[in-house]
Subunit: 136 residues, 3 copies
């Protein structure tokens, strides 16, 4: 059985944002067992899973990705939408834009410390659309 | 319901290549709703999703990945298949080799600007095999 | 049809480890066709697919990831669990923590040279839990 929903997230500032609660509330109730796929319909933001507790992990991730993919690289040619544009595309490829998470006992089977992140790589990314597909 | 197909892509030059049309034509017709998984059976190429319009995004991605994972690194020990070999394995881990894309209204639910890329990291990668699994 | 199993891997040393045999033995027998999802319930380790033959690929991957995400970066603020902690979170985001692999003819449809890796990024990561979901 396939169920599909579209979650629209309001604009968030550049950075890594915990969205686990938003996702869990939106898909409630879940089937007893299955697989949930999140698919972000954008090329300058990403989805990933990481620590849900200490916010310093998210701060350090933002620092690191900004260091790894620097703005104003003179070799970039895709530059007319701003200095954050091409770095955002690259970061999106590095994080990926989709997650598949098991559903077990009517809940997302995340580990104790795992949360779902929206990675907003643009300065003004606008609202972001995520297709959610539940297979059960 | 599970359907499986094997898509064989002809050899492409090193770089990032848009293959959305090839995939959509190959899997036509799609079920009304479901999930499509693409699985590349190789360790020196990748699959990712990024901009389908301006080709400068693909050029800049190729520049960036070549900068990030330089050839002729004296620390590499897996070197007997050429200087592009070990960098290709690393790039493949960074991009991933599999994508899961929702199917909605008999179409891939890609965002307006999203396309499917084959990332060819070898100089002469040969043809590339992709297993396509459709769950509906 | 959905089947779920939890695979618990014993503690492994820091590095990239081939776990294909462990996974295949654990999920035997597989259905004729379907999709197998592996979901690692941790934020400081990863899952990826790469070469199953020459172990130098795994050694070079470890070298490369340690070079890319250096320890003792003075900008990191998430530091109280040791110098390997924040780099492990970053590496986990770069590799990802989940894989979806097609099942064809009752086997994982891996390419000739593909193996499944557990990427252990902590010095002492402890045992690691993987949820396996089989859709058929």
């Amino acid at each position: 059985m396939i169920q599909q929903l579209q979650l629209i997230l309001p604009e968030m500032p550049r950075g890594f944002h915990l969205i686990t609660d938003k996702v869990e509330t939106f898909v409630h109730p879940l089937p007893e067992k299955g697989l949930l796929n999140l698919f972000l319909q954008h090329t300058s933001a990403g989805l990933c899973i990481n620590e849900n507790a200490d916010p310093s992990v998210r701060t350090d991730l933002e620092y690191y990705f900004d260091w790894l993919v620097k703005e104003n690289n003179p070799h970039f040619t895709h530059i007319y939408e701003g200095t954050d544009d091409m770095p955002a595309h690259i970061k999106s490829v590095l994080t990926g834009n989709s997650l598949s998470i098991p559903i077990h006992n009517n809940r997302l089977a995340l580990g104790t410390w795992q949360g779902i992140y929206l990675c907003e790589f643009r300065n003004k990314g606008g609202r972001r659309k995520i297709w959610i597909t539940v297979i059960s």
